[in-house]
């Protein structure tokens, strides 16, 4: 209950800040020197937030599709040989620093959206892939056997039994990947992708603590809220299938 209330409060504060940033002027004013703006004014904060979210969604959805498909493939008899390769690939995506991805891909893809999307996409693969795989591996052998023994085709087993039972763990992976992407998206602004990173970078460049704080706190608040949404859905799903 307390958790719900605090999430609702956070949600209201974030919305208020995005819709009426001037209301927060008195709070942020003491953080900046005389004559400097306390609220980011070079772009609309709401638009930047939406662009930030859009960037994350545009990277995580294809990342999730690839990671889940890959996990399905390597957990079938025909694809099991490719398990080590897939692991190596997704691990590489995770360990390769996003900044390095940006530096390497800007010459190929140019400034702006695309290098950032690629970096976030690669970064999201591992958690979703590993969680999906774990979900398949931990599926109860008797449930798996029952699905085959009832006369389900391999495709029916996947869609009717394995994927629905794996869904909570897959979403858990999606939650982790999304949170990471939300914070990592800020560095996209170093290569001119539109995100809340722009506010932070502007603050660093002009030595404006208020800018840095509002960019950082907004990003963190978004991550928290989205994580809560995922957790809520996961809890609802698990309620109906506790005995997995």
């Amino acid at each position: 209950m307390i958790r719900r209330i605090s999430v609702a409060c956070l949600c209201i504060v974030v919305l208020a800040f995005l819709l009426m940033p001037d209301m927060f002027r008195p709070v942020l004013q003491p953080l900046v020197a005389e004559g400097m703006p306390p609220i980011y004014d070079r772009a609309n904060l709401l638009m930047l937030t939406l662009a930030h979210l859009g960037l994350v969604v545009a990277a995580i959805i294809p990342s999730a599709i690839l990671a889940v498909s890959l996990a399905i493939f390597v957990s079938r008899p025909a694809g099991s040989e490719f398990l080590p390769l897939s692991r190596a690939l997704t691990n590489f995506g995770q360990t390769f620093p996003p900044v390095a991805v940006l530096a390497l891909t800007v010459p190929l893809l140019g400034f702006g959206l695309w290098p950032t999307l690629l970096a976030l996409f690669l970064y999201g693969l591992l958690p979703i892939f590993e969680n999906t795989l774990a979900a398949f591996v931990t599926l109860s052998p008797s449930v798996r056997e029952a699905a085959a023994a009832m006369g389900m085709t391999p495709r029916q087993r996947l869609w009717r039994v394995e994927l629905p039972l794996a869904l909570p763990l897959i979403l858990e992976g999606g939650r982790i990947a999304t949170i990471i992407a939300l914070s990592t998206a800020t560095i996209g602004s170093t290569v001119a992708a539109r995100s809340l990173g722009e506010v932070i970078i502007a603050g660093l460049n002009s030595n404006n603590l208020a800018f840095i704080l509002q960019g950082g706190i907004l990003t963190a608040a978004l991550a928290l809220l989205i994580s809560e949404v995922f957790s809520f859905v996961i809890r609802r799903l698990q309620y109906t299938q506790q005995a997995r």
Partner: protein, 314 residues
């Protein structure tokens, strides 16, 4: 009629199932008894194609099952397992509807069939139907598993230690319920268990299995009275063996002329129940309900219960 013809399954050098030939007449219960590792589970899985045989094959009503696509075959063979394997994300009703759904039955017919089966298995459709497996008791989950296996009126019902996960208090009830259900539906059943008492109670025919081979095949009375070798006699040689043997016959078959006092015993009671009553009450004869001037004598029962003696065993 289900025929297992020369079935073998070898894993490298291990012969899990070794040249098993077995006929299961339509409408009867065949129980395979064996210890763990005897190959009985593998044998069961060979029948519905969960395991592919090294050699041999299965025929259902004269039709070679190798010629039927495995998912079609399995939809025609019910399958109930020890820890029930219910789908945790589906309600009890939807679990029972699994095979009819796969077969594309119309919704109304599926719904009607689920209701019918739940009633038959003493599960209240209105209450239990909407529950998820984790909300069911062990006995309820076991019955939902059996209902799921029976849903599409299978030609054969395979049961792998169906009562293994139940506590002893409800196991006996579940066994008699299954027996009554089988008699009512006339389903052909192939059941495996490690429990000889369960086999004697349920089976029309028993196959004793060891190290992948059938050691003896026969009726429960055959197995109890004439074990083929020391392994089988080891399995049946328990303290209450005479009582188990007597439990295979009913009072009605041994009624004799003559008066007797005391409360009558029902004609469909088993001989072991009759003998137990006589020992407890100290009587030599018992009247039989509904049969005036008829009784059952202790002397005759004791003649039935012993090892094969000339003329004494039916």
């Amino acid at each position: 009629m289900i025929e297992l013809i020369g079935l073998s399954k070898h894993y490298d050098t291990v012969r899990a199932v070794d040249d098993v030939t077995l006929t299961i007449p339509t409408g009867t219960v065949t129980v395979i008894v064996g210890a763990s590792g005897s190959g009985k589970s593998t044998l069961l899985r060979l029948v519905n194609g969960l395991v592919t045989p090294t050699s041999g094959h299965v025929e259902i009503n004269g039709r070679d099952t190798r010629k039927i696509p495995s998912h079609d075959l399995r939809r025609r063979i019910g399958y109930a397992i020890q820890d029930h394997g219910l789908f945790p994300h589906w309600t009890a009703a939807r679990n029972i509807a699994t095979v009819p759904d796969l077969l594309g039955w119309p919704k109304a017919r599926v719904k009607q069939r689920v209701q019918e089966l739940m009633t038959l298995l003493q599960l209240d459709p209105a209450v239990i139907g909407a529950r998820y497996p984790h909300q069911l008791s062990g006995g309820q989950a076991q019955r939902v598993g059996v209902a799921r296996a029976l849903a599409a009126e299978p030609e054969l019902l395979l049961m792998d230690e169906p009562f293994g996960a139940l506590d002893p208090a409800i196991r006996a009830q579940a066994q008699s319920d299954l027996k009554a259900l089988q008699v009512r539906l006339g389903t052909t059943v192939l059941l495996i268990t490690h429990d000889m008492a369960e086999a004697i109670f349920l089976a029309d025919h028993i196959a004793v299995m060891r190290a992948g081979r059938i050691e003896q095949y026969g009726t429960p009375a055959d197995i109890l009275a004439r074990p083929a070798n020391s392994f089988v006699s080891g399995l049946v040689a328990v303290a209450d063996r005479p009582f188990r043997y007597l439990s295979l016959f009913s009072v009605a078959d041994f009624v004799e002329d003559g008066p007797a006092d005391g409360p009558p015993i029902p004609a469909d009671a088993t001989l072991s129940e009759a003998l137990a009553r006589m020992i407890w009450s100290g009587q030599d004869t018992l009247p039989v309900a509904g049969m005036a001037d008829h009784c059952i004598r202790r002397h005759s029962l004791i003649g039935v219960a012993g090892p094969p003696r000339s003329g004494a065993v039916r």
